[in-house]
Symmetry: none
Subunit: 217 residues, 2 copies
């Protein structure tokens, strides 16, 4: 089970912990001095909840050094305390006063979003789900059987969702920088992938004529 870390500048807030525990989440609470947040974050920490209702936390200082791999942060604040760094670094904001249900909804939202985008081991693009760790692909929970190269190519395109790649770029990135082969190789692989995943008429891979291919969700 994914776990939630509740941080606050003073003694840990009990109400947030209770609400989230009641909702079935695993919760840890930490009093955070502005020195460092990193040590408090465990591997299974899926979400940070920053309780800033009684005193502010400088998210710029706390969150920025964590980099891109940090779990998303839900800021809990009083409405007058909204400042630019909070707006920028919080994935979402719960404005006090709020009901228990609202908080839980926001937590659920933040976790879902993370699952949808940032998760390291599953890639969700509409009905298409790529389980990166286990080399599995499914559409509407229906498993799709891809070969290794097909999988690699699809994974690459899907991670860079929306971006166009030339055939050469794909050869470089998927086949490797020292691979010298014809560009049609890419075409053929794209075709094989399409024939396996575009059964329902849904288009996942677009051709950009004269340029290359692009994945669209």
């Amino acid at each position: 089970m994914e776990s939630i870390l509740v941080i606050s500048p003073d003694s840990p807030a009990t109400d947030l912990g209770r609400i989230l525990t009641d909702a079935g989440y695993r919760v840890t609470a930490e009093r955070i001095s502005e020195s460092g947040l990193a040590p408090a974050i465990a591997a299974e920490t899926a979400l940070l909840v920053a309780d800033m209702r009684r005193a502010p936390l400088d998210l710029r200082v706390l969150v920025k050094p964590l980099g891109e791999t940090a779990p998303p942060l839900l800021a809990v604040i009083e409405e007058h305390a909204l400042d630019a760094p909070t707006l920028e670094y919080a994935a979402d904001i719960a404005v006090s006063p709020f009901t228990d249900a609202e908080l839980v909804a926001r937590v659920r939202l933040a976790l879902l979003r993370r699952g949808g985008e940032a998760s390291a081991d599953t890639l969700r693009r509409g009905d298409l789900v790529i389980d990166i760790e286990n080399y599995r692909v499914a559409i509407n929970h229906e498993p799709v059987d891809l070969t290794y190269k097909e999988y690699e190519l699809l994974k690459f395109l899907a991670t860079n969702d929306g971006k166009v790649f030339t055939r050469e770029a794909l050869l470089n990135r998927v086949w490797g920088y020292n691979y010298y082969g014809g560009a049609r190789t890419v075409d053929v692989h794209i075709r094989r992938i399409r024939s396996k995943i575009e059964l329902n008429g849904r288009v996942y891979i677009e051709t950009v004529r004269n340029v290359g291919y692009r994945f669209t969700a």
Copy 2:
């Protein structure tokens, strides 16, 4: 000034409009049947606010067809009405009841986030947006389908916005310095572009008689 479009399934909510207007935003309100949202979105629409407190809106149906160029959406809902499509398609959610200040904060947040993303690789010329990296063109968030040469020519003119080019200059710059073809070729391409982007009567490419063509924003 960027403008906010408030949509709702029934008669437009007055309270949302008032709160946002008071906060200094330019607001339009529309009653939306599930048929189409696209026509209601204007060029300067920077944010959609969906009022779903009295009746739900199917964001999957409304937002999905808009594609990537659509403005972000802030859903306003009752806490029990939170469903998966709303979670997925809304950039943010305001859970009723909320204070005026919370709503304004969320609007500000959504607009800031959008601003933050505006990539250096997009060219904005009025309602026309060219995503250079990804070979996408949109007018009023409506994607436009251009062929390669059309895209290249439009991109060239739009980057050198306001400057007049002779047909020869365009042949040199877009077709290449060693291309020897008739100047009418340019005319025809200009015409094809115009037929795709000047639907609404708006003129993007001006002909400068005796000289050539010029892009105007």
